[in-house]
Amino acid sequence: MSAASAPRSGWDSPLRRGLLLFAAMFVIVVVVGLVQGTASILLILTQATGFALIALGLNIQWGYGGLFNFAIMGFLMVGGASTVFLSYPVNMAFWESDGPMMLGRALAAFIVGVALVMLARRVDRIGIRGKWRAAVVALAWFAAYIIYRTQIDPAAAYIESTAGFVGGLGLHPVLGWLFGGLVSAVIAFYIGRISLGLRTDYLAIATIGISEILRALIKNMDWLTRGTMTVSPMPWPTPLPQHLQAAGMSIPDSFMYARLMFLGVAVLILVIAFVLVQRAYGGPWGRMMRAIRDNHISAASMGKDVTGRQLELFVFGSILMGIGGAILATFTQIFDPSGYQPINHTFMIWVMVIVGGAGNNWGVVLGAFLIYIVWVISDPLAQLIFLNLSQLTSSIGWGAIPEIDSRALQMRVFVLGVVITIALRYAPRGLIPEVVKRG
């Protein structure tokens, strides 16, 4: 028998290691809180909570299911745009214009297009088969595309010039978040249907592509999302600091309490998601998912509906991503499609999951908080280091480093890179690795 079943202790014991790491993170939070102030650390924690939710979503997809989803950025954008649509105040200029009617026509054109494609796919019933059928289908796609564009292009132009964009429905932000999850689920369902048959690395690149497509759409559909013009301020589910100040609170307190309330809501959602995910993963559902991840051919022969289950995972994970994206957009009070970058919104999440420990929910949450905090404090930290370095170089007569501020900030990116590579080197399976269930 090998070491695998030997008793574990010290650093090797997952439990002790987890506790140690969480304690270390707590210390970091306290230190950052002392240095930067309570209001700041609350803000950091709130955003980190949002990222933790997203990372949990990725953990479901990758950690449990081995699905390479690199479309995270796309889902965050979808979540953000959805919550804009539901919770941003109503834009009367749009509703009182011809816009709704023109959009209705575009929708009708869309439906006609879909019907056309559906019909074309059935031409084998009338004896058109093989290559010819494929040709007819392709033609139908093309025709549908043209029909749709003849309606949507003028509608978009009209709305953009008269009302700016369609605006929102003015509902409660939490409803907006849930709606973000729902829309993500629907989109994930179709993405999954198309691409889950692909092998792992292919799936990765395909999803990167899909998220770029989503980004291009959201960024350029100005009539719906306001595109590069950005939407703000997004309403909060809890009172803003201004509201508290209006009620007579001092400015520092208003920051603290407003953020504390928002953080409370976000943490509540994270905890609910965590408990649900953890419970499912610990049970036979998780075992089945690990089996599929491990060897899907064999799992299929053991009666597991591989594609169905993978779709389930993909949708489930994407819901959390959509909600997380919606929370982040709401918290920063702005939806800015240009601000979404694969590095910050896809790869960073992957880093959180891999560094934290794929397949281990505790590890992933730890990873999310840790990486996010490192990312945030790498800004002042890099400047501090560089200032000292510059003093050193000038004191030994090499002169100060030119453009020091901005160059130091480039080191942020470098620091993140260093953290990733070091963490992987010393803990390639993550800080709190997946636990093999024994016995």
Binding site: M1, S2, A4, S5, L276, R279, A280, G283, P284, W285, R287, M288, R290, A291, R293, D294, N295, I297, S298, A299, A300, S301, M302, G303, K304, D305, V306, E312, F316, V436, K437, R438, G439
Partner: protein, 260 residues
């Protein structure tokens, strides 16, 4: 008498690129039998199994299972109506322990539904206890007790084969397809296995469909034996009859085998 046939393969063909791996092949398996399938390497035996078990869709022809046309069914759908298979090259879940490899097999686990895990934990737990007990029994039978908690990927070649076989014991299937379970398994253990297969066949009414190159095993277990060559069925009958066919002996056995 179609109700007597649990698997009925009609004129199936499968082509890989330029190679016709299975060529208009028809054969059938009687309910309650242990049917053997032999033939030279590359004859198309495994391909045929893959088509029966839904891992490959035939280019043409039909597969009837238990009176139902199951051509094009997915493997998991076939599992649900009682078909179970093993793989020639062991397909273990390498990152799961041997025990988990067995526990994941039974299909009627409420815990495999997301919502049940959340809302009916009690039910999930009690079923889990049953499954676990069964898995431990199978592990003991296969003499794998000492590697129960080892990752399946770390098992020896033969141990993986045993695990493969063990999975078929985790559920009550109508038909079990065994693709060369004996290759790489120690002969002494194989005798026990063969005994068990016979027992499952006799006492539990399992039907077995067995690909094997070990003639002793085929001779001991199987009746009838089907011979495939170049994608086609070329003979069927009891082992003694097959052995008496000089063409088969020449093509398959090479030299006459001494009597077992």
């Amino acid at each position: 008498m179609s109700s007597d046939l649990v698997i009925d393969v009609c004129n199936v063909s499968k082509r890989f690129g330029g190679l016709l791996a299975v060529n208009d092949c028809s054969l059938s398996v009687r309910r309650g039998s242990i049917t053997g399938l032999i033939g030279p390497n590359g004859a198309g035996k495994s391909t045929l199994f893959n088509m029966v078990a839904g891992n490959i869709v035939p280019d043409s022809g039909q597969v009837i299972f238990d009176g139902q046309d199951v051509t094009g069914f997915k493997p998991h759908e076939l599992f649900r109506i009682g078909m179970l298979r093993t793989f020639q090259i062991a397909h273990e879940f390498s990152q799961m322990t041997a025990l988990e490899n067995l526990m994941m097999v039974p299909g009627d686990q409420p815990g495999e539904h997301l919502v049940d895990n959340w809302l009916r934990p009690g039910l999930v737990r009690s079923r889990e206890t049953e499954v676990r007990k069964k898995a431990l029994d199978v592990i003991d039978f296969l003499k794998l007790g000492h590697v129960r908690d080892e990752l399946a990927g770390n098992l020896s070649g033969g141990q993986k084969k045993l695990l493969e076989l063990g999975r078929t014991m985790m559920v009550d299937a109508k038909v079990v397809l065994l693709d060369e379970v004996a290759a790489g398994v120690n002969k002494t253990l194989l005798n026990d296995l063969a005994g068990n297969i016979e027992r499952m066949n006799r006492e539990l009414g399992y039907t077995f469909f067995v690909i094997e190159h070990d003639m002793d095993l085929i001779g001991r277990l199987c009746d009838p034996v089907i011979v495939m060559a170049q994608g086609e069925k070329i003979a069927e009958g009891p082992m003694a009859e097959i052995r008496a066919n000089p063409a088969i002996v020449e093509a398959y056995f090479g030299t006459p085998v001494e009597a077992a």
